[in-house]
Amino acid sequence: MPGTPRPPREVLARIDAYMKQGGTILFDTRDALAITNPRSGEVSPATATLRDILSSLDLPELETVPRDHVLTKSFYILREFPGRFTSGTLWVETLPANDEEQADRPARAGDGVTPILITSNDLAGAWAISSDGQPMLPLTPGEPRQREFAFRVGVNIVMYVLTGNYKADQVHVPALLERLGQ
């Protein structure tokens, strides 16, 4: 939210430690609509606030989710990561560039799991249901199955933080099994 005060120093230190020891935090600025032209470099107030909060943390370099990232295949096959909005992008830690050896790998396996995920698509807003099972918030633009895909994004993120690069390795299993017994 714009204008959220920066947490005190000890809280930030704990957040830092949490991320360093394998934890992952998802930040959602929920303001994908605030930017009319994503390429203009314009910064929404909520993003500015998040930048201010994170500026004191030791964060890795970020990139938008590459097409071959484990997040795209940790359970469902996903190309986009919609929430209540679809225009925002999902940012993750930059993975080391593919070297030639790994070029044929469909999914990239970084050493670890990204400690930080940043989106502006308001995922939780899309997930929210009232006690009678009805969605609480409308979707924008309201594409068919957008809510379904928002749930799938949530499932993939949870699977990703629990299994790490498991899916990236699975492509090797057939070859590994083939080698067995030879």
Binding site: Y76, V158, L162, N165, Y166, L180, G181
Partner: protein, 686 residues
């Protein structure tokens, strides 16, 4: 004392020569003209010339120096065979007596070949050490008493002195000995595969071709018995049983009347290297601990990990089109039927019987473990439930029965008494203090140990980590899924890496982690015998020295499960220790010491040097009285005969003082000159 005359002319030599010529001309003229007093005048001239040449009487005081003869006694191990040592001592005694009787001869007796490096007999290094303070021109000769197996014989021109080198050879001409020489010695081998060792049985003193029984041992246990032909290259295949040092010995049957049995045995160390360990990890569901297992196994470059997670059990089909799912089929038949024996370890991580694996595959797993496989169950709440793997045929090999309850309180895992002794958990980092220095767990699957050993426990002494053996295989059961808290550094974390690494290595039968183990290690000048055991006491251990002697050691308790004793390591070679059931081997120094390679006595090694210096090589056994006669010789080509050795007596001396007396100086010179001139004058005036 030496006397002499020295000239120191008062004028320069050309002037003196000119004066002499002039005087000779004058004298010749006088004599030729027959003038009166010519002779006396010539004499007076000669005297004047001599005065100019300034002669003086010299006197040197010289002390003659003693000549030095070195007697080198070979005290190497090969000199202990038969009567060699006795013959050496006797000859040394007699020689000492005979040499001491010679005037102006200093006798230095030195023992060589006693160094403990085991790299052969080095008599010449002992010799140069003892002659270090003697100038080469005082060395009268060297006599070595040896079996002839000297490994540092120099060329005659590199000897550094010009005196005869003699050798007296112990032993007899017709000695025989059998030895094993290794021709191909692999240094590494893959565990479980065979390595080929090449060797040759060599008989000295008898013709080749004898049939010889050969026994091959690995770490003290016989692995092969064959019959080979002496002199011919042979090969034997030995299986590399375990990682680390595999000591292989090849021993040939004794030859009648041979010198020593020590070299009938050759040993080599082959380092066992494991090929990549293949681990099958089956996660029943995604959970926080899964990444810990993955990271642990993937960080080990020696492990090929095959990992399957049951992301969606069959009962959760929801009609999502398959092309929208990123799911891979679980190749159960391939894994648990066709290729199960290719895995070194199977881990079930929070796996429950979810209808994925048919029961027949659990039978396969039981069979796999009994025939030497390894299985680790990391249990979660699933283990207590209705679908627990305990309710499958695996029950037969599971070491603890779930009670159906789950304890969910904070507790600090502890080591049981067995755990303090067991190599998997002994001295686990953090266990030194009470309570141990590691973080708490919050869940324990209640179970009762049925046929295993609990190494760690939780609240109420309930088992946390239980190990058991079935047939040739091993099973471990970890009754909490919270070890990931240690990996994430919760409350400072814990020794999860150590624990899980040791656990998996124990499961895969790494010898380092055997409960009952006898180990010998060299520590400085001592050998430490260490017995690791799960028992309260340790049996005495019998230690066999390289030379064959035995000694029984009583072990004392050093820490839980570890008993120690130490013994002075004063011999090089292969030491063994046994307590009746377990054996341990350790090799000190080179595996096959040069000293024992060739042990038959020989003249051939010393002969070129002896001949080159004019010395002789004699067999002690051929000499009456056990020692040669000694002859003093000033200078000769040969300093040896069939029964005598020559000592080159040197004339070295040192000048103590020098006296000088000028003859024509001062009053005496003047008087002589005056007398000569006066005589000439008188004669002339007559």
């Amino acid at each position: 004392m030496n006397l002499g005359v020295a000239f120191e002319p008062l004028i320069s030599l050309p002037l003196l020569a000119g004066a002499a010529i002039l005087a000779a001309l004058v004298a010749a003229l006088l004599l030729f003209s027959r003038s009166r007093g010519a002779l006396t005048r010539a004499i007076a001239l000669a005297l004047a010339l001599i005065a100019l040449a300034n002669p003086s009487l010299t006197r040197e005081d010289r002390d003659p120096l003693t000549s030095v003869v070195a007697v080198v006694l070979d005290r190497s191990a090969s000199q202990r065979f038969g009567d060699r040592a006795e013959a050496t001592n006797k000859a040394a005694e007699t020689l000492k007596e005979r040499l001491s009787a010679i005037r102006n001869l200093e006798v230095r007796i030195v023992e060589g070949g006693t160094d403990s490096e085991g790299d052969g007999t080095k008599l010449f290094s002992a010799l140069s050490a003892t002659l270090a303070d003697v100038p080469p021109e005082r060395v009268a000769g060297v006599i070595m008493i040896t079996d002839g197996r000297v490994h540092d014989v120099p060329l005659p021109q590199h000897l550094g002195f010009d005196a005869p080198v003699h050798a007296l050879i112990t032993g007899r001409d017709n000695e025989r000995d059998r030895r094993v020489a290794l021709t191909s010695t692999p240094r590494f081998g893959i565990v479980g595969q065979r390595q080929t060792i090449g060797f040759r049985v060599l008989d000295e003193g008898i013709p080749n071709g004898a049939r010889v029984n050969v026994t091959v041992r690995r770490d003290g246990t016989v692995v092969a018995n064959t019959v080979v032909t002496a002199g011919r290259e042979e090969r034997v295949q030995v299986e590399i049983a375990h990682a680390g040092a595999n000591i292989v010995e090849i021993e040939a049957s004794p030859l009648d009347g041979e010198l020593t049995l020590l070299n009938n045995r050759a040993a080599l160390t082959i380092d066992g290297v494991r090929e990549k360990l293949r681990v099958l990890l089956v996660s029943g569901e995604p959970h926080s601990g899964e990444r810990t297992w993955r990271n642990l196994l993937k960080s080990d470059a020696n492990v090929d990990l095959v990992h399957f997670t049951i992301l969606r059990p069959p009962e959760k089909q929801d009609g999502t089109p398959i092309h929208e799912l990123s799911l891979i089929a679980f190749p159960t038949r391939e894994l648990f039927q066709q290729k199960i024996r290719e895995f070194h370890l199977i881990i079930f991580d929070r796996y429950a019987q979810q209808g994925v694996l048919p029961l027949i595959y659990f039978d396969n797993i039981v069979e796999y473990v009994r025939s030497g496989g390894a299985m680790l169950i990391a249990a979660g709440p699933d283990y207590a439930g209705r679908n627990s793997v305990w309710r499958t045929p695996l029950e037969a090999i599971l070491p603890a029965t779930p009670t159906g309850n789950i304890t969910e309180t904070a507790y600090r895992p502890g080591l049981t008494d067995e755990g303090k002794r067991h190599p998997v958990t002994r001295a686990l980092p953090g266990s030194e203090t009470t309570p141990p220095q590691w973080s708490r767990f919050f869940r324990l699957i209640d179970a009762q140990t049925s046929n295993g050993t609990a190494l760690m426990n939780g609240p109420g002494n309930q088992p946390l980590l239980v190990l058991s053996r079935h047939g040739d295989g091993r099973v471990a059961l970890l009754l909490s899924d919270h070890i990931w808290l240690w990996a994430r550094g919760y409350e400072g974390g814990g020794p999860h890496l150590d624990l899980l690494r040791r656990l998996s290595h124990w499961l895969m039968k790494e010898p380092e982690l055997e409960e009952e183990r006898l180990v010998m290690t060299a520590r400085g000048s001592e050998i430490v015998v260490e017995r690791r055991t799960m028992n309260e006491t340790a049996e005495p251990v019998t230690v066999t020295r390289p030379s064959g002697g035995t000694q029984t050691l009583n072990l004392t308790r050093a820490e839980p499960g570890i008993f120690h004793a130490s013994i002075k390591a004063e011999e090089l070679g292969l030491w063994r220790a046994t307590d009746g059931k377990l054996t341990a081997l350790i090799n000190l120094g080179p595996l096959n010491p040069r000293e024992f390679l060739e042990v038959t006595s020989t003249r051939d090694v010393m002969l070129p040097l002896a001949t080159g210096t004019g010395g002789g090589v004699l067999r002690l056994a051929d000499l009456s009285g056990g020692a040669p006669r000694i002859a003093q010789i000033r200078s000769a080509e040969r300093y040896a005969g069939p029964d005598w050795l020559g000592i080159k007596m040197r004339d070295a001396s040192v000048v103590r003082g020098l006296g000088l007396f000028p003859l024509f100086a001062g009053l005496s010179g003047l008087l002589i000159l005056m007398a000569g001139i006066a005589a000439a004058w008188t004669r002339e005036g007559r």
